[in-house]
Symmetry: D3
Subunit: 186 residues, 6 copies
């Protein structure tokens, strides 16, 4: 699991949630998580969450910190579990850095009942992918929202690097856990 | 995902982490999580964690609240992810019930740097299994330990039922998340 | 496994054999079987059966009862087995309702050596899919055909609902059968 | 898929439902179905169906025609589907040979509401296995039973060979069906 | 595993590395390897090797002997192993026919440090695919190259048929090897 | 993929081909290949190759260089491919070190038509395993045999380390190859 914080801002429009986007653009081959800051605007025809399409809920936020993960040799069901572990790690880091209380519900994070994040996991022919993003500035977000500024996370790069570092540790630890146990029988 | 709190106390000795133990004893067929209270004593020859066997670290605790999960049609790697989501859910519930700060590190929980829990995930020919237990009374535990009593969780059955209820919700939500996304291509 | 009989007629042109067609149109999330009545016209460029494309055999029938299944977390080989169980269930129901003799050969049904049905199973990135349809009125079908009218099935909706109900029971029973057996060793 | 009718009688006691039993005893390497005639007595500690163990229902029949299948590279869920297709094929052959009406319910066959068969599918580390058997003479069977004699199947070897031949054709046809379809996308 | 040497020359442009290309054009249904002679020109937008796209390295060779494999029910990781076994078989055959020394490095073959071959393995929704080709005449190849002419392989059809025959034997032997071993336990 | 040459001699009796034997004894957690020198005596009841058991062919050799591989998250079919790549790598290294001609046939190596090696691949509940060994001194081997001494490989440790080093490179290169290709469609 490789990690990279991308220094330049990128507008996330959904098309980046594609196999090998990380490899093609940042030369990281294999399992990786990258992070970048940027405006987020996902129109209905780029959305992978069909529930949002049905409900006619495009995504917009003026400035978010984005995470994109690509993993090979996992099923979509495992990737959704991995996504929720990432969300849980993000929650723990925000709480640790700010002493504020964050609530996780599935793949969503809330501060004072206002939504802080968006997230989706999906599958390609050769890999699985996750996009997760948290509002930095909530202006323009279409739902009642919170953001990292009001919670007190100001150094976004340091925050993103800590998230990626703890996520990488978790994934490697999960793999180790599968190597060290004997199988059981009836 | 079925749930059951078993009213009578059971001494956990490791042999219960076996395929169909839940079905044979409690008639729950298929994916299930059960919970019970009891002394925990896992000797080296019943341990599935080979790391603990190598380090000669048997498990003992006078009174723990135990959770056993059996899931079918999952890989061990996914089951370890599921285990960590369970641990994360337990952490969030303890914090919500007590306003104390709990730390998760992989599959371990800590209160004030003292260990609160044990956990392991493993595989059989037909399923995957998890055992997780938290000290209720720490007397007799071999490492510097904490327990639910000192943190302020006194109604263990209510606590266990809330854990199982939120875990069930998480698992069902994960499955739903795999049904609602379109695949992506390059 | 959810079931739905769709009241309005739909012309089946092949494009409906697509991932999430059921979810997008009928809000059934996850494994599901739906049925509807309608004209069937699958041109060569919409066919998924390459054998038919090679043999230049487009499909046409004036009025058929259609079944579409989508299942997640199955391989294509398992989905073909499931397809044949569906065909077998349909045969048994027609025989039970009419006392006529139907012959199943692979995924085809015959009455008096005349073909009654079409069927195909295929795969998407995230799921497997089956389309099965039986002639209600055989006029216009390009091969020597039979239909449900001449066999004596007149209440198509009742017939379709019974098919879906027994199919759902079979699928759930299959899953149960995988939960109740101990693995065996040499 | 290889087939073999074993001429000498064998008492089936459950231990034959083991990986490589066919290969070790009859030199058929790989996917195979074999058939033999013999008394059937499966005591509780040899049963793989835990439901029967819980219900304290050992199996006994004085004379049955037995089928054992071993397949590699299939999941247990697919193997249960394959088992039910075998049961469906057996039903169709009996009906075709006798003009009597047989009822299939899951993996059971009935004649005039009396049970004709037993069947189970299970898994080993390297393969999946099925045992299916039909009463030839019902004397001594513990439940209200039917048998092939009263239905009019007298040449058991010819019957068994036809079952195996049609089963082999079905399995090979299923594999072909997975090779000839293009994948579909949203 | 079916084999076919295609007599007429075909210009390979990358588009042939597609699911069912063999079946649609040569009626071989299921696992197959085919071989043909022809010019090779793969432009960047037809390449499946993203590394070559990043490095801006299109493929050109005036005359190559091409092999295309399609296998069902394998993972991409297994298909890459199969690809390397094919390369290893080709090396052994060239050495055996010519007494010249060939070097294999991953999926590349070299004669006197000059590159003799190109190869790639990839995945579709329903299968995995390999393309491997060796220079017959090196004129026009963009890298420092060798070819079969200078090594002394002149009867390309005989060579290709021997490669396919030994590859087929290897694949069938691999499958047999999975059928004949008992699983092991701790 | 970790590698280790074990300095002390070990008599290989078959029981070492077990899950976690490497981890328990040499603390290498996860995918690994180890090598050691020692007498080899595998009696019939320790053999995993049922073909050898049927043919009553126990294995004996006075002194062999042994390789044991354990890999997680692979199927047995892939592990057999990996085994054959290892055999191919060993062949290439012997030829490169000695200028003698070695023949590979499946998982066997021959020098002047005399057998040089034994090898088997198998599966446990949690992993796949390979044992491969080459005669150092052929005295006492039950079949017409060759050995590394007569071929001219005298520094066994250097040889074993080169085998493990090139095998590790091959496995890591295979994984990379799965990360760098786009999927293809019809």
């Amino acid at each position: 699991m490789q990690t990279l914080f991308i220094e330049n801002e990128i507008k996330y429009i959904g098309s980046q949630l594609a196999p090998h986007w990380i490899y093609k653009n940042y030369k990281l081959l294999g399992d990786a998580i990258v992070s970048f800051i940027g405006e987020v605007e996902v129109k209905l025809d780029e959305m992978v969450d069909i529930e949002d399409v049905i409900n006619n809920e495009p995504i917009y936020s003026k400035k978010m910190v984005n995470f994109i993960i690509e993993q090979f040799n996992v099923t979509l069901e495992e990737m959704v579990c991995v996504q929720r572990l990432l969300i849980s790690i993000i929650k723990d880091i925000i709480e640790d850095m700010t002493n504020k209380k964050i609530k996780r519900s599935g793949d969503d994070l809330f501060f004072e009942n206002r939504k802080l994040s968006v997230s989706i996991a999906t599958q390609s022919i050769t890999s699985c992918l996750v996009h997760t993003a948290l509002n930095i500035i909530k202006d323009g977000a279409p739902v009642s929202a919170s953001d990292l500024s009001e919670i007190g996370i100001l150094d976004i790069k340091a925050f993103a690097n800590r998230v990626m570092s703890e996520f990488k540790k978790e994934i490697e630890d999960i793999k180790s856990a599968t190597y060290k146990v004997r199988g059981v029988t009836e």
